[in-house]
C-alpha cells in the first residue's frame, strides 16, 4: 500500500518522519526547490495508508553525449518502512524515468565507502562500483561512484569499471 507520487513543496512540512532519522540529511530549502524546479519528475515520495511519509527519492538528469544519464541524489526510507524493498521500488522508478522520459545511457549514484549495507543493496539492484572518488565526503571519506547501464547503452560500456581512483575535481558534474 504504497502510493508513489510527485514530491511537492508541501511535503517539506511533513517529512520529519523520514528526516528525523540520522541517516537522512536535511538540506536547505533552495536545494529541494531547485530540484523541484528543474527535475520534478525525478523527485518522488512514497506514502503509506494513513498518508504517512514512507520515504522519497530525488534525482536529476545531466551529462552530454554518451554521458547523458540519470543521477540519484538521495534515496531515503523512514525507519518504520525499511526492509520492504521500498528503496528498490523508488530506484526502479527513477530508472524507468531515465529510460522512458530522457533516454539516458545509465543511472549513477554516490555512496560512502563505509556504507556497506547500501553498497550491497545497490549491487543487488544491478549497480557496479564504477570508480572510487577520493575524499568526496567533506574531504574525509571516499565515495563509490556506482552505475547501472540503461537499455540505450547496449554494450554496457558505462559500467566498465575505471582502473583508477579519481579526485572530486575530476568529476564531470557537481
Amino acid at each position: 500500500m504504497t502510493t508513489i507520487r510527485k514530491f511537492t513543496c508541501d511535503d517539506l512540512f511533513k517529512f520529519n518522519n523520514v528526516n528525523l532519522d540520522k541517516l537522512t540529511e536535511t538540506y536547505n530549502l533552495q536545494f529541494y526547490l531547485s530540484y523541484l524546479a528543474r527535475w520534478p519528475e525525478y523527485f518522488l515520495v512514497a506514502e503509506g495508508p494513513g498518508a504517512q511519509m514512507m520515504g522519497y527519492i530525488m534525482g536529476k538528469v545531466e551529462g552530454e553525449g554518451d554521458l547523458w544519464h540519470g543521477h540519484v541524489t538521495a534515496v531515503t526510507v523512514a525507519p518504520n518502512y525499511r526492509r520492504q524493498q521500498l528503496a528498490k521500488k523508488l530506484m526502479f522508478l527513477l530508472e524507468e524515468i531515465t529510460e522512458k522520459m530522457h533516454n539516458g545511457y545509465f543511472v549513477d549514484l554516490f555512496v560512502r565507502e563505509s556504507n556497506t549495507v547500501a553498497i550491497d543493496m545497490y549491487k543487488k539492484l544491478g549497480y557496479v562500483c564504477y570508480r572510487r572518488v577520493i575524499k568526496y565526503y567533506s574531504g574525509e571519506e571516499d565515495a563509490w561512484d556506482m552505475r547501472k547501464a540503461m537499455r540505450r547503452d547496449k554494450e554496457k560500456r558505462s559500467m566498465i569499471p575505471l582502473d583508477r581512483a579519481i579526485h572530486p575535481e575530476e568529476l564531470e558534474h557537481d
Binding site: 521500488k89 522512458k100 563505509s114
Partner: protein, 1145 residues
C-alpha cells in the same frame, strides 16, 4: 580591419577594468569591507569615476551595514549608463537591502533603451517576478510571445494570469475568472495553430480548467492528442479517473483507477479512489471545509463532519447495502486477480493484502447489515488477524493498520482482536522454524495494536505497571538480536521502550507519583544508551525533561536531533514555548533567530526558484512555489517568532526606558506588531507545525496531561491515539490567534506608557510631554527610524507582503557615527512626536489617551473571550498551559497607565482639570494597590507550589516536576515584572515634579493636591512592595537551593524506586528499571567500552555529553533551572536601584 582593431581595443580596456576591479572584489569576498572601500576610492581617484568601482564600493558598504550610503550610491550609479554586467552586480546589493523595487527601475530603464531586445525583456520579467508583480510579468511575457512566438513565453503569460486569478480576493471569481478565461483562450488559440509541446504546459492547462470547474473540457483535452504528452500511462489514467469522478461518471472512474492498479498494484491512493468510485462517494467539498476552518466557525465544521455526503473516515455511500455488497464483490475480484499476479512475481507488496481489511471497513461503514455495527467491526477485526498472519513481522504493521484499528470501538471486538493477535504471535513464535526476530516483531505488533485499541489505557494501575515491566523484560531479552545491526539502523525492538515509557507516564498522569516520571525518563535514557539515534525517545525526553524543570538536558536532546532549515518551522514547537517561559533566554533567542533567518532567507530568495521554474519550463511548479512562499509568509510560527523576539528584547530593557524606546521606534512605536496581527492577517495564518511528532500526552503545544497530573478518578479522557477533530482544531487555532493578538498589543501599550513624560503646571498637555520623552532617545532610535521611512516608501511600491518584509529589513545595526545620522538628529524628535503622538495606525487622528483606552479594552477582551463553543481560556504562544494571572497583572499595569493619562491635568496641578481627570486621579491609589495585590496573589500561588513543603527529602521531589510554577515564576520575573518596571519608570517621571512642587508651596490645599499626594504615596508603597516581593523570592529560592542536598535527595528517590516485596502499586516502582538492569551499571560500562573502541569510526562521540544516566544528574539539571531563575530575580532586584532613586524610596 578597423572594426576589429576597435573591438580589440575595447577588449583590452575591458581586461584592464577587470584587472582593476578584481582585487576590490577579492577584498569583498574576504570580508575586508573597509579595505574594499579604500581600494574603490583609490581606483576612482586614479582611473576616473567608473560606475563599476562605485558599484563594488556600494557592495562593500552594504555588507558592512552602511545601508543608506550603499543605497544612495548604487541608485546614483543606476542613473547613469547601464549594461548587463553592471545590473547583475547591482541586483544582489538591492536584494540585500530588501529593495527589489529599486532594482526593477534599473531593469526598466535598460529594457526601454532597446525595447526589441528579448534578453532585456527577459531580465525585466525576472525583475517583476522578484517583486511578485504578476500583471507586469504578464505584459512582458505577452510582448515576448508576440515577438518570438515561442510556447515558453506563452506559458509565462498563462502562469502569470493564473497567479493573478488566484491572488484575487476570495478566489478566482470576478476579475479572476476573466484572467482564467483569457489564459484558456490563449492556450486554445495556440493549440489551434500547433500542438502543445510539453507535459508541463498540459498540466498548467488542466489546472486552468480545474480552477474554472471545467471537468468535461479537461477530460476532452487529455483524451485528445495532448494526452500523449503523459509519458507514463498510469499518470494519465490517474488524471482521467479523477476527472470522471468529478463528472459523476463513477463507472468510468473506477475503470480508470483499476487500470492504474493493473500497472501499479501497490498504489494505495489509486485503490482508495477505485473504491470511492465503485461506491459512488460524492466528491469532498474541500473548499467548503477550508472556508469554514478559515472563518473560525467550529459549528460549521462539525456540521460538515456530520454530513453523510462528505467523503471521509466513517462516512457512508448513498447506495443500498445490497448494491454495496455487489460492488465490493467486484473489488474483491480485482484484488484477487492482482494478488495472484503479485504472488507469482514474488514481489513484496503489502497493499493488496491490506486491501481486504479496507474493503471490510468500507462494508461496515455502509451500515444496515445483519448484526449491526458490532458485526461489521468484527469482520474488520477478522481481516486484520488475517493480515497479521501474512505481514505481522513488518515493522510498519501497526502504523499500516492504525486507521482500521481505530475504527474498532466495540469493547468486545477490541478485546477479541487483541487476544487473537497475542495468540497468533505466540503460536508463530512456538513454531520450530520461526526466526527469533520474527517472533519478537509479532509480539511487538500485537502489543502496539492493543495500545491503539485503547485497552492499555484502561488497565488498572498495577496491571499497567506490570505491563511496563514485561515490555522492559522483552526488550532486555532482545538485546542479543542487536548484534550486527549498524548503530544508525533501526533496532528490532525499539518500540518496546516507547510503550514501556508510555505506561509509566500514564501512571504519573494518574497518580502524580514523581517516581514514575523519573523512571520514564531513565528508561528512555537507557534506550538512548543502546540506540542513540532513536528520535522518538529523544522527543519524548524533551517533553518529560521540560516538565521536570530540567531545561538543560531537554535542550541537549533537542539539539542532537539536528533540527534545521525548514524543520525549524515545523519542529520548534517542541521546545520554543517552554524555553520562552524559562530562564534560558539566550537559547530561546537563538531559536527565534534561526526561525527568522529561515523565513527572511526564503522571502528574499524564494523568487529565484520560481524563476528557475519559468526558465526550465516546469510551469506547474510556478504556482506551487508561489503558494509555498505565501504559506511561509503567513506562517503563525513566523508571526510568533517576530513578536516574541521583540518582546524578549523589550523585556531585557526593563531598566532602560531609553533602550526600550529605541527598540519600539524600530517597529513603528509598536504599530507594526498591530499591523502584523490585524484580523485579516490572523484569519490568513497558516499553521505549519508538524504535530504528528509530539508525544501523546501533549498532542499540541498548549496541552499537556503532565501539567494536569494527577488526573485520577477516571476523568473523561481522550484516547492516547485519538485524532484531533476538525472542530477542536478550529477552536485551538482561534485561541492561538487571540493570544498572539494579545502579545502584539504589548509593544504599542508599552510605547504609549513610556510616552508619559513629566508634567508640570507650565507645560501640561501631551505635546510637551512627548518632546521631553523623545529627547531621551538615543541615536539608535533615530537611525532605525530613518530606515523605517525608507521602508515606508518601499511599501507603496510593493504589491504583496510589504509590511511583512518591512520589519525584517529594519533589524539593521545602527550606523556608526557618520554624518547622515548626525544631521537627522535635530529633526528626528519632532517626527517621532508626529508619528507616535497623535496619529492612529490607520491614519485618522486619535489622541494617545483614546488609543490607549481602545488598546487596553482590546487587551482585556482577549483575556475574556465570548464563551461560545470551544472558547476555553487561552494559552499563550509563550506560555504553556496559559499565563492568565500574569496577563491580568499586565492588564492592571496598562489600565493604571491609562488612568494616569486621564488624570494628567490634575497631576499637573493646572487648576483647569475636568471632572473625569479628577475622578481618574482619585482612583489612582486604588489602581496602584490593585497591582500590588495581584503581585501578592501570584506570590502566594507560586510559593505555595514551589516552597510549601521545604525541605524534606520526599517533598523535594517537587523539584522533579515543578509543573508550571517555575516557568510561571520565570515569566513573571522576566516579562510581566519587566512591563511593570518600565511603567514604574515612566510613572516616576510623572510624579516627582508634582511632589516637589507640593513641598515648595506647602500650603496648597485644594483637592487636586490631595489627590496627587495620595497617588504619590500609593506609588511609593507599590514600589517598596514590589521590591519586598522580589527580595523574598530571592531569599526563599536561595535557602531552597542551599538546602537541596542532591546526594540525599537521590538516595531518598532511589529508596522509593527500589522494588519491595510488600503490596501496593508503589511497591512496584523501579521494577522497569530493574528489568533494564540499569542499576547494575555493568552493561553501561560494557557499552561505554565498546563505544570507546569504535571511536574514530565516523560516529560523533560528543553525543554522550548529554546522556543522563543517574538520578543525581537529573536532579542537578532540575536544580540548575531553579538557580537560573534565582539569578534572574537577583538581576531584576538590582535593576530597580535606579528606579528607587527616582522615587525617593
Amino acid at each position: 580591419m578597423a572594426s576589429s582593431a576597435a573591438s580589440r581595443a575595447q577588449e583590452a580596456a575591458a581586461d584592464a577594468l577587470d584587472r582593476r576591479v578584481r582585487p576590490i572584489l577579492d577584498q569583498v569576498d574576504l570580508r575586508n569591507y573597509k579595505q574594499a572601500v579604500k581600494l574603490a576610492d583609490a581606483a576612482i581617484k586614479k582611473y576616473g569615476d567608473h560606475p563599476l568601482y562605485r558599484t563594488v564600493k556600494a557592495m562593500a558598504l552594504e555588507r558592512m551595514g552602511r545601508k543608506q550610503e550603499a543605497l544612495d550610491l548604487v541608485t546614483d550609479v543606476r542613473s547613469g549608463p547601464l549594461n548587463e554586467h553592471l545590473l547583475g552586480m547591482m541586483q544582489p546589493i538591492y536584494r540585500n537591502l530588501g529593495r527589489y523595487d529599486e532594482a526593477t527601475k534599473g531593469y526598466e530603464k535598460f529594457a526601454a533603451e532597446d525595447p526589441q531586445n528579448p534578453e532585456r525583456q527577459i531580465q525585466l520579467f525576472n525583475a517583476y517576478a522578484r517583486e511578485y508583480d504578476y500583471l507586469k510579468q504578464q505584459q512582458v511575457a505577452m510582448k515576448l510571445f508576440k515577438q518570438l512566438g515561442r510556447e515558453q513565453f506563452l506559458m509565462w503569460a498563462v502562469c502569470t494570469l493564473e497567479l493573478q486569478a488566484l491572488a484575487e480576493q476570495g478566489g478566482p471569481t470576478g476579475g479572476g475568472a476573466r484572467m482564467l478565461q483569457l489564459a484558456e483562450a490563449l492556450l486554445r488559440k495556440k493549440m489551434g495553430l500547433a500542438r502543445l509541446e510539453g507535459l508541463e504546459s498540459l498540466l498548467v492547462f488542466l489546472s486552468i480548467l480545474e480552477l474554472q470547474h471545467k471537468h468535461a473540457a479537461a477530460l476532452e483535452l487529455i483524451q485528445g492528442p495532448a494526452g500523449a504528452l503523459f509519458t507514463l500511462p498510469a499518470d494519465k489514467a490517474r488524471v482521467e479517473g479523477e476527472l470522471q469522478h468529478k463528472l459523476g461518471h463513477y463507472k468510468e472512474s473506477a475503470a480508470a483507477f483499476a487500470s492504474v492498479l493493473r500497472i501499479s498494484p501497490d498504489d494505495w491512493a489509486a485503490f482508495q479512489a477505485y473504491v470511492d468510485a465503485l461506491l459512488e462517494y460524492r466528491e469532498v467539498p474541500a473548499q467548503t471545509v477550508e472556508a469554514a476552518v478559515a472563518s473560525d466557525a467550529p459549528e460549521t465544521v462539525t456540521a460538515l463532519e456530520a454530513d453523510n455526503s462528505w467523503m471521509g473516515p466513517g462516512k457512508r455511500t448513498r447506495l443500498s447495502f445490497d448494491e454495496v455488497e455487489r460492488r465490493l464483490g467486484e473489488a474483491h475480484d480485482l484484488v484477487a486477480e492482482l494478488q495472484a499476479v503479485v504472488v507469482q512475481s514474488g514481489e513484496l507488496l503489502r497493499g493488496l493484502f491490506l486491501a481486504k481489511v479496507e474493503l471490510e471497513k468500507r462494508r461496515a461503514e455502509s451500515g444496515e447489515q445483519a448484526g449491526g455495527a458490532t458485526q461489521g467491526q468484527r469482520r474488520v477485526a477478522e481481516a486484520i488477524v488475517k493480515y497479521f498472519d501474512r505481514h505481522g513481522t513488518m515493522v510498519s504493521f501497526a502504523p499500516d493498520v492504525r486507521q482500521h484499528v481505530l475504527f474498532i470501538t466495540d469493547p468486545g471486538v477490541a478485546g477479541w482482536l487483541a487476544a487473537q493477535l497475542q495468540q497468533a504471535a505466540e503460536r508463530s513464535a512456538a513454531a520450530p522454524d520461526c526466526k527469533p526476530v520474527h517472533a519478537l516483531r509479532r509480539r511487538i505488533a500485537a502489543a502496539q495494536v492493543e495500545e491503539q485499541l485503547g485497552l492499555v489505557q484502561q488497565l488498572p494501575d498495577a496491571e499497567l505497571y506490570a505491563r511496563a515491566e514485561r515490555l522492559a523484560e522483552v526488550y532486555q531479552a532482545s538485546v542479543p538480536l542487536l548484534h550486527g545491526v549498524a548503530p544508525r539502523e533501526r533496532g528490532p525492538a525499539e518500540e518496546l521502550l516507547v510503550m514501556a515509557a508510555t505506561c509509566l507516564v500514564e501512571g504519573y498522569v494518574r497518580t502524580g507519583e514523581r517516581a514514575r516520571l523519573l523512571e520514564a525518563i531513565l528508561v528512555l535514557e537507557q534506550g538512548l544508551f543502546d540506540r542513540r539515534w532513536q528520535s522518538e525517545y529523544k522527543l519524548m525526553l524533551v517533553s518529560l525533561y521540560l516538565h521536570a524543570g530540567a531545561v538543560g538536558p531537554a535542550l541537549g536532546w533537542y539539539r542532537l536531533l539536528d533540527i534545521k532549515h525548514i524543520q525549524a518551522e515545523t519542529m520548534a514547537h517542541h521546545v520554543l514555548p517552554a524555553l520562552l517561559a524559562s530562564a534560558q533566554r539566550d537559547a530561546a533567542a537563538g531559536l527565534l533567530r534561526e526561525l527568522a533567518a529561515f523565513h527572511d532567507g526564503h522571502l528574499r530568495d524564494g523568487a529565484d526558484m520560481t524563476l528557475t521554474a519559468y526558465r526550465n519550463g516546469t510551469f506547474s511548479k510556478v504556482r506551487e512555489f508561489v503558494r509555498f512562499k505565501e504559506r511561509l509568509e503567513r506562517s503563525h510560527q513566523r508571526l510568533a517568532a517576530r513578536t516574541e523576539s521583540l518582546l524578549l528584547r523589550l523585556a531585557e530593557a526593563a531598566d532602560n526606558p531609553t533602550e526600550a524606546q529605541a527598540l519600539l521606534a524600530d517597529v513603528g512605536f509598536g504599530r507594526e506588531p498591530l499591523a502584523w496581527s490585524t484580523s485579516d492577517r490572523l484569519a490568513a495564518l497558516s499553521f505549519n507545525e508538524d504535530l504528528a511528532t509530539r508525544p501523546w500526552w501533549t498532542p499540541t503545544p498548549e496541552q499537556s496531561l503532565l501539567d494536569a497530573a494527577p488526573l485520577a478518578g477516571g476523568a473523561a479522557r481522550q484516547p492516547w491515539h485519538a485524532q484531533e477533530a476538525q472542530s477542536a482544531r478550529v477552536a485551538r487555532d482561534a485561541r492561538w490567534r487571540r493570544s498572539v493578538r494579545r502579545r502584539c498589543l504589548l509593544p504599542r501599550l508599552l510605547a504609549l506608557t513610556l510616552d508619559l513624560g513629566p508634567v508640570s503646571a507650565a507645560q501640561a498637555g501631551p505635546p510637551a510631554a512627548e518632546q521631553a520623552t523623545h529627547s531621551e532617545r538615543g541615536p539608535a532610535a533615530k537611525a532605525s527610524d530613518k530606515s523605517g521611512r525608507g521602508k515606508g516608501k518601499k511599501k507603496s511600491g510593493n504589491k504583496s507582503g510589504d509590511v511583512e518584509t518591512a520589519a525584517g529589513e529594519k533589524r539593521e545595526p545602527a550606523p556608526t557615527s557618520n554624518g547622515a545620522a548626525g544631521q537627522k538628529r535635530e529633526t528626528a524628535p519632532r517626527e517621532h512626536g508626529g508619528e507616535n503622538g497623535c496619529t492612529a495606525a490607520h491614519g485618522s487622528p486619535q489622541s494617545p489617551v483614546d488609543e490607549m483606552r481602545q488598546l487596553v479594552d482590546e487587551y482585556a477582551r482577549t483575556l475574556r473571550p465570548d464563551t461560545h463553543a470551544g472558547n476555553a481560556p487561552d494559552a499563550g504562544p509563550s506560555s504553556p498551559g496559559g499565563a492568565q494571572p500574569l496577563d491580568e497583572l499586565s492588564l492592571a499595569v496598562f489600565t493604571t497607565s491609562l488612568r494616569i493619562m486621564e488624570a494628567r491635568d490634575v497631576l499637573a496641578g493646572s487648576g483647569t482639570s475636568t471632572e473625569g481627570a479628577a475622578q481618574a486621579a482619585a482612583a489612582l491609589p486604588a489602581h496602584f494597590q490593585s497591582i500590588l495585590a495581584r503581585l501578592h496573589g501570584l506570590d502566594e500561588t507560586l510559593a505555595g507550589q514551589l516552597f510549601s513543603d521545604l525541605p524534606t527529602a520526599g517533598a523535594s521531589l517537587r523539584l522533579l516536576s515543578p509543573g508550571r510554577a517555575l516557568p510561571q515564576l520565570a515569566t513573571l520575573v522576566h516579562e510581566a515584572a519587566a512591563w511593570l518596571l518600565l511603567a514604574l519608570h515612566s510613572w516616576a517621571r510623572v510624579f516627582p515634579a508634582s511632589l516637589k512642587r507640593k513641598k515648595k508651596t506647602g500650603t496648597e490645599d485644594d483637592g487636586s493636591a490631595d489627590a496627587r499626594t495620595l497617588a504619590v504615596h500609593a506609588l511609593q508603597s507599590l514600589v517598596s512592595g514590589v521590591e519586598a516581593v522580589f527580595r523574598s523570592w530571592a531569599d526563599r529560592l536561595t535557602q531552597y537551593l542551599a538546602q537541596a542536598d542532591v546526594h540525599a535527595l537521590a538516595a531518598a528517590l532511589k529508596a522509593e524506586l527500589s522494588p519491595t516485596e510488600t503490596g501496593g502499586p508503589s511497591s512496584q516502582a523501579g521494577r522497569v528499571l530493574t528489568a533494564l538492569q540499569s542499576w547494575s551499571r555493568e552493561r553501561q560500562v560494557a557499552i561505554m567500552q565498546t563505544r570507546e573502541q569504535s571511536r574514530g569510526g565516523g560516529e560523533e562521540e560528543n553525543d554522550e555529553a548529554v546522556l543522563v544516566l543517574d538520578l543525581e544528574a537529573v536532579l542537578r539539571a532540575s536544580l540548575e533551572s531553579s538557580s537560573e531563575v534565582l539569578e534572574q530575580i537577583r538581576t531584576a532586584s538590582l535593576l530597580k536601584a535606579n528606579l528607587f532613586k527616582k522615587l525617593n524610596v
